[in-house]
């Protein structure tokens, strides 16, 4: 198994290096790796200052956008971490789902809820399997 390399390493030779590069690129895009986004995609990861919003509001607004876009688990994951780190509470994050429901539609919310839940450490799939309240509590505790 070839060792994984970082997201920004320069290729030293052609052929295999080119192949390695595309694998790394894909992986970094899937993870939303910061350095990759900044250096290669040349995108500004966050524009908090430019937006004039405080960090918490900024994160929650982006969450709304992600829900509307039916984003990937990885995107919700990072967004949730940022929101929590900026001082949002779990209730506020769930509140965003409620707030945008009318605008994005029930289908989007139903699709986003498990992903947001998992990002907050609650595995809905596992909870559905649980036999009783105790097990459901345990699956929520494992945050």
């Amino acid at each position: 198994m070839r060792a994984l390399s970082g997201c920004n390493e320069r290729p030293t030779s052609e052929g295999t290096a080119a192949m390695a590069k595309h694998e790394d690129a894909l992986r970094c895009m899937a993870l939303g790796d910061e350095r990759y986004v900044k250096d290669v995609l040349a995108m500004q990861l966050t524009n908090v200052d430019a937006s004039g919003l405080d960090p918490k509001t900024h994160a929650l607004v982006r969450l709304g956008a992600l829900i509307a876009l039916d984003a990937s688990q990885s995107s919700f994951q990072w967004n949730a971490s940022t929101a929590l780190a900026s001082g949002a509470t779990v209730d506020e994050i769930v509140g965003v789902l409620i707030a945008v429901a009318q605008t994005v539609g029930l289908a989007r919310v139903a699709s986003a809820a498990p992903a947001v839940a998992l990002a907050l450490g609650y595995d809905i799939d596992a909870a559905l399997e649980a036999h009783d309240e105790g097990e459901r509590i345990i699956s929520a505790e494992r945050r």
């Binding site: 910061e34 405080d54 595995d123």
Partner: protein, 760 residues
């Protein structure tokens, strides 16, 4: 069963640790290398191959029962110049402490092992496999003499965490040395990688099966007059299965038959049962048959235990004669005092007993339990008492074993026995319910801990205290104080009860005083709390109660900090910290406040790097700082959050506060701690944090997962050990990678090591 103690070995090299006197029973029988028996067919080629194994690190010998795996190992051990460390694995090795302890002792007998490793194993808080393994790993890599470590009967190891230990050992074997594993099936310990690197030697059925010339030699060795042609025919009929050939030889010897029913090993053990019953047992006297089947309930036998089970005398001589006549019995020591039945035959004999005398079995177990109990071998007595169906007796034995096992860090064994007893039985016994609660709490399972503690509330408390305190009542009081289930006031009352019950200078009194201090502190009376902590630290130091003393010093440090008395705070923090270091309390719950106090001291002196180091050390404790120990868990997190704020790491502080909130939902009444949490949250609520989430925002669940990343386990296998879905594991892993700024597992491990979140 000859036994030394690990403490005795360690005592020769290190100074005595004052707190209690933990001793680890070394079962010599497990370390005994079986001698080579008469008439064994030599396997020269195979042994040569094993002796010339320079490039390899691991040897696996995999074949069904009766192919001579142990015999091959014994022969190789005799003819190899390297010293052999031999460990026969059995069910007791499900406890990592037992397994690693015996491995370490076996290696130590070849070449001195760093005393630190012994200390880590004998630790009263229960050896964290991670720590013991990393120390063992470095001990292995510093061996100067090449050696071979044998683990025989590996299939008897079911516990995944212990199998992980075997994998780690396999990866740490130095050049020129070997790990030799004998098992019925190929163990899953990351062998493909070793195979690809050319570092694995595999011996299987094809290698162990006996060919015609060897069959001939075996028959001659057993005293059977057979021609080479007959031997070849027999070898063909049995497909070279050594035990089959041996049984055939026995049969031929007694019956002078020239033909036998075919005795291939066809993979079905029932076939072997039938064959042994008709061809071996049936030829013995009725009395001998009864002896064999009845004593087969014992894992290890000696003369006096057999006498007790059979209700007769002279069993010692019987065992000797059985051993001389055939290979059914394997000696476990040089004095020929202890034996065990060959694996294959033990299973057969037990099946036979169940068939012939099923109603007698409980009584036999009862006799065995009596005999073991009278010689003080409580663990064996427990197993047999339980097997005899006498749950009450088994429960009582377990309660008596509790203290010694808890002290030696064998809480994994205790947990297994508690599970074996079953919830109903444990829920009826106050002492055991309390033990179950305490062990669950220490293992980071607050839900189970709470459930068991509630059960214990309504039960009478009789019997010995598993904590070693003055009484079970006192132990219950201390558990209640630590778990703070009834709020601040109840915590105080409980701790005071323990203070009154304990003798003036016992280490438990120091603990009780420390918790009284904590209860007083959260009730808001700082002065009185400080006085209690002062008393606790003094008694603790004098009586060897290091957990209490270190906790008390840490609390005094935090109090001094709140008063603005920097120098005093620094001094107390220093004393607490060095106590933790000397007494190996690094991963004890009471060390949370110690790290917090040290971190604040470092911050005070402007040493940010040191502050971060202390923070990292505390992070490793977070998985066990659950709402099972609400007071210490909340207090530690609040103090660490303050340090984070001091380091401008608001995100880290928020992560900790989120966890505080979660604990408070379970235990809302924690006095001033509750208000402090609100205040701190308000204070940082208004602070802008510019940076994206970093390592300090790792959640407790992510920290738990982090400890598994260095292993070879897949996400699914890790999920199985952590009791979460593979989906959750994957999500958490991605989160970990992002927070550490990496995109690969090995990079995550390296980054975590650099940050001291993982042992190097």
């Amino acid at each position: 069963m000859g036994s030394g103690t690990i403490r005795q070995v360690a005592r020769k090299r290190t100074r005595e640790r004052a707190e209690g006197s933990p001793s680890f029973e070394v079962t010599e029988a497990k370390l005994y290398r079986p001698p080579i028996r008469q008439g064994i067919v030599r396997r020269n080629e195979l042994v040569e191959r094993l002796r010339d194994s320079d490039a390899a690190s691991v040897v696996t010998i995999t074949a069904p029962a009766g192919y001579g795996k142990t015999t091959l190992l014994a022969e190789w051990a005799e003819r190899d110049r390297r010293p052999f460390a031999w460990v026969s694995v059995d069910e007791s090795d499900g406890d990592p402490v037992v397994f690693l302890g015996h491995v370490v002792v076996a290696l130590d007998r070849i070449e001195r092992i760093d005393p630190q490793v012994f200390e880590a194993i004998g630790s009263p808080t229960g050896a964290t496999p991670g720590r013991v393994l990393s120390r063992l790993g470095s001990a292995l890599s510093t061996r100067t003499r090449p050696f071979v470590l044998v683990l025989d009967d590996l299939d008897r190891l079911a516990e995944p965490l212990v199998m992980d230990a075997v994998t780690t050992i396999a990866g740490s074997i130095p050049n020129g040395s070997l790990l030799a594993l004998a098992a019925r099936a190929v163990p899953s310990i990351g062998l493909p990688r070793l195979r690809a690197d050319g570092r694995l030697i595999e011996v299987g059925v094809e290698d162990l099966a006996l060919g015609p010339p060897q069959a001939y030699r075996l028959l001659r060795g057993a005293g059977v007059r057979a021609t080479r042609a007959e031997a070849a025919e027999l070898a063909d009929a049995t497909e070279g299965w050594p035990v089959g050939l041996y049984l055939a030889a026995l049969s031929l010897q007694e019956q002078r038959r020239s033909t036998l029913p075919p005795i291939r090993f066809n993979g079905d053990d029932r076939f072997v049962v039938d064959y042994v019953r008709t061809e071996v047992l049936a030829r013995l006297s009725r009395e001998r048959q009864r002896f064999l089947t009845r004593t087969s309930i014992l894992d290890r036998l000696n003369g006096s235990i057999c006498d007790a089970v059979m209700e007769r005398s002279g069993s010692a001589r019987t065992l000797e004669s059985i051993e001389r006549q055939n290979l059914l019995l394997v000696p476990l020591d040089r004095q020929r005092e202890w034996y065990r039945y060959h694996n294959l035959f033990r299973d057969v004999l037990r099946a036979e007993l169940a068939r012939r005398e099923p109603e007698a079995i409980p009584e036999l177990h009862r006799r065995a339990a009596d005999s073991f109990e009278s010689t003080g071998l409580l663990e064996e007595a427990f197993v047999h008492a339980h097997a005899s169906g006498d749950g009450e007796r088994a429960a009582e034995l377990l309660q008596r074993m509790g203290l010694a096992y808890y002290r030696n860090g064998r809480s994994a064994t205790l947990r297994r026995w508690l599970d074996l007893l079953g919830e109903d039985l444990v829920a009826r016994n106050g002492g055991l319910a309390l033990m179950a609660a305490w062990i669950a709490a220490l293992n980071g399972d607050p839900v189970a801990a709470d459930r068991w503690a509630s059960a214990a509330d309504h039960l009478p408390l009789t019997g010995p205290s598993f904590l070693g305190s003055a009484s079970l009542r006192s132990a219950a009081a201390m558990v209640h104080a630590t778990m703070s289930r009834g709020g601040a006031e109840a915590m105080y009352q409980a701790a005071q009860l323990a203070v009154r019950e304990e003798p003036a200078s016992s280490p438990f009194r120091a603990s009780a005083l420390a918790y009284s201090g904590l209860a007083t502190l959260i009730r808001g009376d700082v002065e009185a709390a400080d006085a209690l902590f002062a008393e606790a630290s003094e008694i603790g130091e004098k009586s060897g109660g290091m957990t209490a003393a270190s906790l008390a010093f840490a609390e005094r440090s935090l109090i001094a900090t709140s008063r603005g008395d920097g120098p005093a705070a620094d001094e107390y923090a220093q004393r607490a910290r060095s106590m933790v270091h000397d007494a190996h309390l690094d991963e004890h719950i009471t060390t949370g406040p110690v790290y917090a106090a040290s971190a604040r001291a470092a911050l005070r002196s402007g040493d940010h790097q040191q502050a971060r180091a202390e923070l990292s050390a505390a992070q490793r404790l977070r998985p066990i700082l659950t709402w099972g120990f609400p007071t210490i868990s909340v207090q530690t997190r609040l103090e660490l959050a303050r340090v984070d704020v001091g380091l401008s790491d608001i995100a880290g502080a928020r992560t900790l506060l989120a966890e505080v909130d979660e604990i408070l939902t379970h235990r809302p009444d924690l006095g001033v701690l509750t208000t402090q949490a609100v205040e701190l949250r308000t204070h940082i609520g208004s602070v802008r944090s510019g940076r994206s989430p970093g390592p300090s925002t790792l959640t407790t669940a992510e920290l738990r997962l982090l400890t598994f990343l260095p292993t070879h386990l897949s996400f699914r296998e890790i999920g199985a050990r952590l009791f979460v879905s593979p989906n959750t594991v994957k999500t958490q892993a991605i989160s970990i990678y992002r927070k550490l700024g990496v995109s690969a597992r090995s990079d995550a491990v390296q980054a975590a090591r650099d940050l001291r979140l993982l042992e190097p």
